[in-house]
Each structure stands twice: as structure tokens, then as C-alpha cells.
């Protein structure tokens, strides 16, 4: 074997230039230095993390209590941690792109076209697959079993595998910062541009395998949540008694099951093109990239609702809780959710009205798209009427919900404009489109996720988040959004193409300046979110809510301690109507001990999930760099733990009845001795998580 052959066998396509540090050393321009700095952040971040874990001796608890845990609550929290890390990276990238565009009007700016293209590709890929998806999956994971009165999801081990596959994909995107480069084909990765002929490097391969890992994880999550909601509801919890968040989670799960396979298929076929010279999407030999475009958006449009529906669920919970009132039009909302789910599969073509279809086809999909506006509009009104004759408190999650309603409507309106093909023709592929989807996804997803995080945080950790910092953060997120994206509508109408590294129209400049100010405000929103977390952890003793119901809320998750015990409920609840906890409190039947307690069987921790995720990432890394021995090793590594696990019989452990009873009685004693607080004091330290009953009715 020659030296080259040996090198290729051992390291595939890896060489010194794969490392941004080497590239920056050889060619120290600003763009390469920024790249090297980002790569260095990954490396330094990893080193600091390892050092911190070692210094604090957190390795054992990290692995034994968290990474190997099958507890849906811990898995949910880990998902949200991933989302937070990835959000930080992708938001910094967004600021960098905005900075580039505002500086690059008739000027070179700070990053090269290559670098800029990687920025918009990673920004989109991360925000969708590694920020939004983990965030909503995390919330669903944490909340749904508690809301339906279950002890865990239907398949706890599969849940851990899903998490770790997503983490593996996210890890791969992070590694691409320090080793090699990322795709320049955008988050949608259209061939033939992402084919081997036009992008022979490793970029699209990183994209393909990161997406594939995460989409597999998401498919499993969808199956898991759907099975959980169908099969694990407590006695009396009919589908029509589930909190609305469960409805949206169910709809999202169904969409995940049916929408992720077209994506997995599209990326797999693209991989076959790139690795084995197939011609599915090439220009020649019978390939046809239009098939990719259809497959991608057959996933891509339902994906939009996968992202938005859980946030709709959060808003339903938050607005109802902070209006101290039952949700208006519960059945309407549930029906509208399912209608949106079905319609979301009938509109994918509106992503490419400009591909030359006949007017009949375009008009059909345009009308189908508009139809979605009806159930969506209904939902908006249902939330507005939920506040009607309520007692509204402007806590941070409620503020995000109100900002969502107003802002989302504007995004919906630009969506109606885009649904009309002739109008789409003049703003498609411009920053008008960029403004539109940020205008629906920031309020329709991110605000919802932040609201949900702030709303359920006291449940998960036992103390409230700082209200002041929550409001400051809210101020930045909302003002930042308007300043960053409203100018893009104007610029798009002025014909500014999206994904432009440089611009040659001086008239664009003032609007781009406003947009960069907005981007910095959004970054401040993120920073203040972290400040809020830090301040709240520091002051946690003053803000504890151990009794578990800090917001005087209505569904079952608030009927247990904060944080809840591992098994969620000492005894499985019985439900006889919607908003069961509200009615328990109303009938003075809350906080009562069970007649008798039983032993509870819970799944033991397992190493299978983390091993599968790690091996999956290793396999993908081998594929990216053509290191075939590593690929095979990784592939075996994915399956070996799964096979081995099927021989393990001892997978459960039992918590004795006496232990369950002791824990429960300790909490009930606490609830009995705690002073209930009125709503006026709910953001004060006096709030220990026990609500003073509201009068049932106040005449006007």
C-alpha cells in the first residue's frame, strides 16, 4: 500500500486543510479568522466542559443520573439543553449574516461568499433541526406524560435513543465547525447544486448525515408520543378531556410519522447520488432534481406545522392559566388542530410556484394554502376569547403569548400574499420570503417555546424564573424581531434576493442598518434569557414552589410536587372532565392522600441510547470523510447495543409502596402547612406553589 493509499485508508479525505486553524494560518483574512475563531470556540468549549465536569466531579452524576436516564422528564430537559446550545450558535450566525449584509453594500464586508453560504446553511439547518425540533420535542417529552396522568412515555428506551440520535446529529454539525466545512446549499439542500459535480467537498455530506440522524430520531419520537397519547392516558382521560397541548402534541407526532420519511428518503437518494454515482437528481443520465424538490417539501410543509402546533398548544395552556379561565372553544381548537394537520399535506407545491407548473396546478395549491388560514384564524380568536371575562396577569409567558397573537397575524397575512401565485412570483426567493417565515416561526415557534420554558420551569426544577429578567428578555425578543424583520419585507418588495453575500443597491442600505440593530436586540434577548436563568438559579431558595402549582393552573401536571417524583403520580389519577385539577381544587378535593399506595415499577437506566447516538455520529463522521473502517465500526456500534439489550431481562426496578407513601405524605404535609397565595402575589417569594382559590364568579 502506498503512503497515499495508507493515509486514505486511515483518514479518508481528512487533511491539514480540513482544520480552520490551518486555513487561517495560511491565509489570515478576516473571514478565515472568524471561521477559526468559531472552530476554536468548539474546541475550547469542549475542553472547558471536560475540565468543569472533572473539577466538580460531575462525571458520575452526568452519566448515571442524566445521560443514561430513561425518565421522560430528564430526557425532555436534555432536549431543551441541546436546543439552547444550538440556538446560541445559530443566532450568532444570524447576527454575523446581518452584519455582513449591512456592511456589504457596494463593499466586500467581513466574510467571503463561501463563508456566508455556510452561515446561511448552518443557520437554517440548526434552527429547524437542532433548535426548534429538540425544543418542542423536549417540551412534549416533559409535559405530555404528566398531563395525561402517565408515569412515562410508551417506549422509554426508544425515547433515549431518539434523544441521543438528535444529539449525535447536533454534534456532527458542531464538529463541522472545527473539522472541514459545512454545506453551502442552504437548509433545503437543493440538488444538483448539492450534487457531487458542483460540491465535491464534505459540506453536503455533513448536512446529509446530520439531517438523517436527527430525522430518524424525530420519526421515533413521533411514534413514541403517538403511542403514549393513544395508550397511556389515565382512567377517564378521554381524548376530548386532554389538555390542548396534548392535542397539538398528538397532531405533531402524527405529522412526524408521515412527514419525516420523505425527508429521510430525499437525503438518502442524494447520498446515493454523491457516494455511488446514482443519478436521481443529477442534470444528466435521467436524473431530475424536481423529484427532490417535491420530496423535500412533502416533508417541509408538514414540518412547518410540526414546529408551530406545539407552540399553539403552549399558548392554549398559558393564556388559559394566566386568564384564570377555561379555554374558549376547546373543541373548536382541537378540531382546528387536526384540520391543520391534514391540510398541511396538501400544500407543499406552494414552495415552488415558480417551477413552471400550469396555472391550474398553481391555483389549486394556492387555494389549498389559503384554506389553512381558516382554522388558524379560528385558533387566534379562541385565544382572544379565552381572555374575555378572565383575570389576565401579564407574566412573562403571557406577554410572549400576547406578542405572538399580534405578530403572528402579520406573518399570516404575508403568508396569504405568498399563497397567491402571481404575487409569489414577484417576492419568491427574496428577503420578503425570509421575513415571512421568520415572522411565522419566531412568534409561532420560538416565543411559544420560551413561554413554555418559563411556564413549566418551576414545575421541572421547583423554583420560579426571575420575572424581571423574563420581562427584559421579552422586550428584547419582541423589539428585536420587529426591527430585524420588518425591513426585510420592504427590501424583498424592492427585489433583494435572499442569500446575498453582497449588495449593489445603495437604497437597500438604511433598511439593512435597521435590520442589524434588530439582530443585536435579538441577541440581547438570548443573553438576557441566560442571565435570567443564572439569576434564578442563584436566588432559587427565595423562589421555591415545592407544592407545585405556582400559576393556579388547571391540568394534571400541576397536581403534583415541583419537581415531580420520578414516577410522576403516587397513584394514577382518575379524571372525569376537562381541566381535572381545576375541578379538584374547586371541589376542595385536591391534595388528598390516596386510600392505599402500591409499589411502582420503573425502567432502569440504560447505556443503549447514548451508545447508539455516539456510534451513529461516529458512523456518520466516517461517511463524511470516506473513512470506511470507521463507518463500519460505527454501524456495528449502532446495532450491537440494541442486540445486546434484547438479551437483558433485568430492566426494571421497583419502588416500594412504603417509599411512595412516605414521599407523598411528606409533600401533602407541606401542602397542608403552606400558606396559599392570591394571584396578585404569584411572582413574589410568598408564592410557594399553593394557590388561594379564586371566587367562582365576579359580577360586572
Amino acid at each position: 500500500m502506498s503512503d497515499d493509499g495508507l493515509w486514505f485508508f486511515l483518514f479518508g479525505r481528512l487533511n491539514a486543510h480540513a482544520f480552520p486553524f490551518v486555513r487561517a494560518w495560511e491565509n489570515p483574512n478576516l473571514s478565515e479568522l472568524i471561521g477559526a475563531f468559531a472552530g476554536a470556540l468548539v474546541v475550547v468549549g469542549a475542553v472547558v466542559l471536560v475540565a468543569l465536569l472533572t473539577w466538580k466531579q460531575w462525571w458520575r452524576p452526568l452519566f448515571l443520573d442524566w445521560v443514561t436516564s430513561l425518565d421522560h422528564k430528564k430526557i425532555g430537559i436534555m432536549y431543551i439543553v441541546i436546543a439552547g446550545v444550538m440556538l446560541s450558535r445559530a443566532l450568532v450566525e444570524a447576527v454575523l449574516m446581518r452584519a455582513q449584509q449591512s456592511l456589504a453594500v457596494d463593499a466586500p464586508g467581513i466574510v467571503t461568499p463561501e463563508h456566508f453560504a455556510q452561515l446561511f446553511s448552518t443557520h437554517g439547518t440548526i434552527m429547524i433541526f437542532f433548535m426548534a425540533m429538540p425544543f418542542l420535542t423536549g417540551l412534549i417529552n416533559y409535559v405530555v406524560p404528566l398531563q395525561i396522568g402517565a408515569r412515562d412515555v410508551a417506549f422509554p428506551l426508544l425515547n433515549s435513543i431518539s434523544l441521543m440520535l438528535t444529539a449525535g446529529g447536533a454534534g456532527l454539525v458542531m464538529i463541522s465547525l472545527a473539522v472541514g466545512e459545512f454545506s453551502t446549499g442552504g437548509w433545503s439542500g437543493y440538488p444538483p447544486y448539492t450534487g457531487k459535480v458542483f460540491q465535491p467537498g464534505v459540506g453536503p455530506d455533513y448536512w446529509i448525515w446530520a439531517i438523517t440522524l436527527s430525522s430518524l430520531g424525530t420519526t421515533f419520537s413521533g411514534l413514541n408520543f403517538a403511542a403514549t397519547i393513544y395508550k397511556k392516558r389515565c382512567p377517564g382521560m378521554h381524548l376530548t378531556r386532554m389538555p390542548l397541548f396534548c392535542w397539538t402534541a398528538l397532531c405533531t407526532s402524527i405529522l412526524m410519522i408521515f412527514a419525516m420519511p420523505p425527508l429521510t428518503l430525499a437525503t438518502t437518494l442524494l447520498a446515493l447520488d454523491r457516494y455511488l454515482d446514482f443519478h436521481f437528481f443529477t442534470n444528466d443520465l435521467g436524473g431530475n432534481m424536481m423529484n427532490y424538490v417535491n420530496l423535500f417539501w412533502l416533508f417541509g410543509h408538514p414540518e412547518v406545522y410540526i414546529l408551530i402546533l406545539p407552540a399553539f398548544g403552549v399558548y392554549s395552556e398559558v393564556i388559559s392559566a394566566f386568564s384564570s379561565k377555561e379555554l374558549y372553544g376547546y373543541k373548536s381548537l382541537a378540531a382546528a388542530t387536526m384540520v391543520i394537520g391534514v391540510l398541511s399535506f396538501t400544500v407543499w407545491l406552494h414552495h415552488f410556484f415558480t417551477m413552471g407548473q400550469s396555472a391550474d396546478v398553481n391555483a389549486f395549491f394556492g387555494v389549498a394554502t389559503m384554506t389553512i388560514a381558516i382554522p388558524t384564524g379560528v385558533k387566534i380568536y379562541d385565544w382572544i376569547w379565552t381572555m374575555f371575562r378572565g383575570e389576565v396577569r401579564f407574566t412573562a409567558p403571557m406577554l410572549f403569548s400576547l406578542a405572538f397573537i399580534v405578530t403572528f397575524v402579520l406573518g399570516g397575512l404575508s403568508g396569504i400574499l405568498l399563497a397567491i401565485p402571481p404575487i409569489d412570483f414577484v417576492v419568491h426567493n427574496t428577503v420578503f420570503l425570509v421575513a415571512h417565515f421568520h415572522n411565522v416561526l419566531i412568534p409561532g415557534l420560538l416565543y411559544g417555546m420560551i413561554a413554555g420554558y418559563m411556564y413549566w420551569f418551576p414545575k421541572a426544577f421547583g423554583f420560579r424564573l426571575s420575572e424581571i429578567w423574563g420581562r427584559i428578555s421579552f422586550g428584547f425578543w419582541v423589539s428585536g424581531f420587529y426591527l430585524a424583520f420588518m425591513p426585510l419585507y420592504v427590501l424583498g418588495l424592492g427585489g433583494m434576493a435572499r442569500r446575498s453575500q453582497a449588495l449593489f443597491e445603495p437604497d437597500y442600505r438604511p433598511w439593512l442598518f435597521v435590520a442589524i440593530v434588530g439582530a443585536f436586540l435579538l441577541l440581547a434577548g438570548l443573553v438576557t434569557l441566560f442571565v435570567q436563568l443564572w439569576v434564578s438559579v442563584r436566588d432559587r431558595e427565595a423562589n421555591r414552589v415545592p407544592v407545585g402549582d405556582p400559576w393556579d393552573a388547571r391540568s394534571l401536571e400541576w397536581s403534583v410536587s415541583a419537581p415531580p417524583p420520578e414516577y410522576n403520580f403516587a397513584t394514577i389519577p382518575q379524571v372525569d372532565r376537562l381541566d381535572p385539577f381545576y375541578w379538584l381544587k374547586e371541589r376542595k378535593e385536591a391534595y388528598k392522600p390516596a386510600d392505599h399506595y402500591q409499589a411502582i415499577v420503573m425502567p432502569k437506566n440504560s447505556w443503549v441510547g447514548p451508545l447508539v447516538g455516539l456510534a451513529g455520529a461516529v458512523c456518520a463522521f466516517g461517511l463524511v470523510w470516506h473513512i470506511w473502517w470507521l463507518t463500519i465500526l460505527g454501524f456495528i456500534g449502532v446495532w450491537a447495543p440494541v442486540v445486546a439489550r434484547s438479551f437483558v431481562r433485568d430492566v426494571h426496578r421497583t419502588i416500594s409502596a412504603s417509599e411512595v407513601e412516605a414521599t407523598d405524605r411528606r409533600w401533602l404535609d407541606l401542602a397542608r402547612t403552606t400558606r396559599p397565595v392570591p394571584r396578585e402575589l404569584e411572582t413574589e417569594p410568598a408564592n410557594l406553589g399553593l394557590a388561594r382559590p379564586f371566587p367562582t364568579q365576579v359580577p360586572s
Binding site: G356, G377, V406, N429, V490, G495, A502
Partner: protein, 307 residues
């Protein structure tokens, strides 16, 4: 990318806005209404042709209708939230009220009616403004074959036997019929002030119809990202009087450059073309040859390999 690569053929040479660069944050915001709105002239709102004109009318009509959709939400949300705030002890409180049939009708029916109205409008105008539909005109259309390349546009005038790169010229008031394909990855052809955009894809043709109703210089661009020269892939669109168009054709022919397969192959190299190129003659059937390179379903030897 070097500085020279950033040269833009469409640069209009307006005076710089050095003052803005130095202005403080608040000053920028304050200056916006004064200096910023000319940006809209570059898009469909600065319509200079019949297609863009009708699209602009449709856009403004739909925006007006949408005002009525947005208004109730934008009004009711703050009003309800504020009126029913906890500290307002005078407001009613009905925690167990959650459904009302007449209200339900109010929530479902008006949005449905608006969507039906918009759908009728949509169906009508999608057909009226179908890019494939020839424009009504007493004059025959100018035929132009458009090839998207990295990172430039090739315009072939088969009836005239001339071709140009990065300069799209046609006479005012005569409709233009475009047949588009790509010699590389997918791109999107867009002249915002004249008409909407349409994709150009290898091995396939798409069609487009546009016209200008006043002489002028407009910006044409590719809006589908296609690599490192994407941002520079702009071209001037010149709508000229009949006489000026004739003299442009004469100018093209006088250059004696020939666009044959060899010249085309040179154009397919990935590069930014700052200055327009004119070809005085074109190999007949070149557009069909380019199409056949990458015809899906027609196996060919490996086509071109860019770079």
C-alpha cells in the same frame, strides 16, 4: 472574492450616503421615512410593464382586504388583555364560560367568506398572470432563449441571429417571449419591475412572457442561490425604442463574434462576467443542443464538468 469581482453592471452611480454611515442608531430610524422608500421603486411596486402592473394592482387589492382580517385581532387582543387585567376589579369574571354558538359562527364564518373571496381572486389572476400565457399585443413577440450559467445569463435571439451575455435588450411595447433553460444548476430568472420570476432548469425549458411600457434600464437577477458568484449575477435589462433596438442589433452584428459550441463551452466556466458580451451570429439550434446535453431520460455521456 476580490474587490474587482464585486463590480456590478447595474450600479446606478447614485451619490454615496456617507452621512447615514455615521449617523447614530436613532438618527437612522428617524431618517428612514425620508430616505428609504425609494427602495420600493426597484421592485414590483415600481412596475414598468403590463405584467408587473397587474401584479401590483392585485398586491394592493389583497393588502386592502387583509387589513380587514388583521384589524379585529390587532384591536381585540390589547383591549381584552388590558380590560380584563387582574387589577381591574370592575371587569366581569366568568371562569367556567368556554363556548357560545353565535360566537362560534362569528369565528368560523367571516374568515371562511374572506378566504372564498380571495380564492376566487386567486383562481382568476393565477390564470390571467400565468407566465406561460402570451401577452395580448398587436405586434408579434420578440423570441428570446435564455440560458442560466454560473454566474451569468446568456440571451439568444434566434430570429435575429444574435446573442448577448448579461445584457437583456428588447423594444418597448413589443411583448417578449422567453424560453429558459440552465446550463448548470437550477436558477431563477427575475426582472422585478417587469414580471415575476421563473426557474431555469437543465434539460428542461420553462417559459415566460413580459413587456415594458416605457423605455428604461431595469435590474435583472438570479434569485436562486447557485454558488460563490451568486450575488454578482445581476444584469441590466434595457427596454429600448424600436430605433435604439435596431441599432443595438446592428452593434451586436458588427462585433463579428460567433456563439458556437466552443464559445458556449467557454461561457459555462464558473466565473463572474462584469461586462456584457455581444455575439453577432449564433449557431442555429444551439439552444436545443444545450437542452439535449442534460435531457432527463436521454442518457448522455457525463455532461460538462464545471471548473
Amino acid at each position: 472574492m476580490t474587490d474587482t469581482a464585486l463590480a456590478d453592471p447595474c450600479r446606478s452611480g447614485r451619490p454615496g450616503r456617507a452621512a447615514l454611515r455615521l449617523a447614530s442608531l436613532s438618527a437612522i430610524v428617524a431618517l428612514l421615512p425620508l430616505g428609504g422608500c425609494s427602495v420600493l421603486d426597484h421592485g414590483v411596486l415600481g412596475a414598468a410593464g403590463p405584467v408587473a402592473d397587474q401584479t401590483r394592482s392585485l398586491f394592493l387589492l389583497v393588502c386592502t382586504i387583509l387589513l380587514f382580517v388583521a384589524a379585529p385581532v390587532l384591536l381585540l387582543t390589547p383591549i381584552f388583555a388590558w380590560h380584563y387585567r387582574l387589577s381591574n376589579t370592575k371587569s366581569a369574571y366568568r371562569p367556567q364560560w368556554g363556548f357560545n354558538w353565535p360566537l362560534e359562527g362569528f369565528i368560523w364564518i367571516p374568515p371562511a367568506i374572506i378566504v372564498v373571496v380571495l380564492a376566487v381572486l386567486l383562481w382568476r389572476d393565477t390564470h390571467k398572470l400565468d407566465p406561460y400565457k402570451p401577452l395580448a399585443s398587436p405586434y408579434p413577440p420578440v423570441e428570446v432563449q435564455v440560458v442560466a450559467l454560473d454566474w451569468k445569463w446568456l440571451f439568444i435571439y434566434p430570429d435575429e441571429g444574435v446573442a448577448s451575455v448579461n445584457e437583456f435588450v428588447f423594444p418597448v411595447d413589443r411583448p417578449v417571449h422567453l424560453s429558459l433553460t440552465s446550463g448548470t444548476v437550477m436558477q431563477s430568472f427575475f426582472v422585478p419591475q417587469l414580471a415575476g420570476q421563473i426557474y431555469a432548469m437543465a434539460g428542461m425549458t420553462t417559459q415566460h412572457n413580459l413587456a415594458a411600457n416605457r423605455p428604461g434600464r431595469f435590474r435583472g437577477e438570479n434569485t436562486q442561490f447557485n454558488g460563490m458568484g451568486f450575488q454578482n449575477q445581476k444584469f441590466p435589462v434595457l427596454a429600448k425604442s424600436t430605433d435604439d433596438y435596431a441599432s443595438w442589433l446592428a452593434q451586436a452584428r458588427s462585433g463579428r463574434k460567433t456563439l458556437d459550441e466552443g464559445a458556449y463551452a467557454a461561457l459555462t466556466a464558473r466565473s463572474i462576467q462584469a461586462e456584457p458580451i455581444l455575439f453577432g451570429s449564433v449557431t442555429p439550434g444551439l439552444f436545443q443542443t444545450i437542452l439535449a446535453h442534460d435531457d432527463p431520460g436521454m442518457p448522455t455521456a457525463h455532461g460538462h464538468h464545471p471548473k
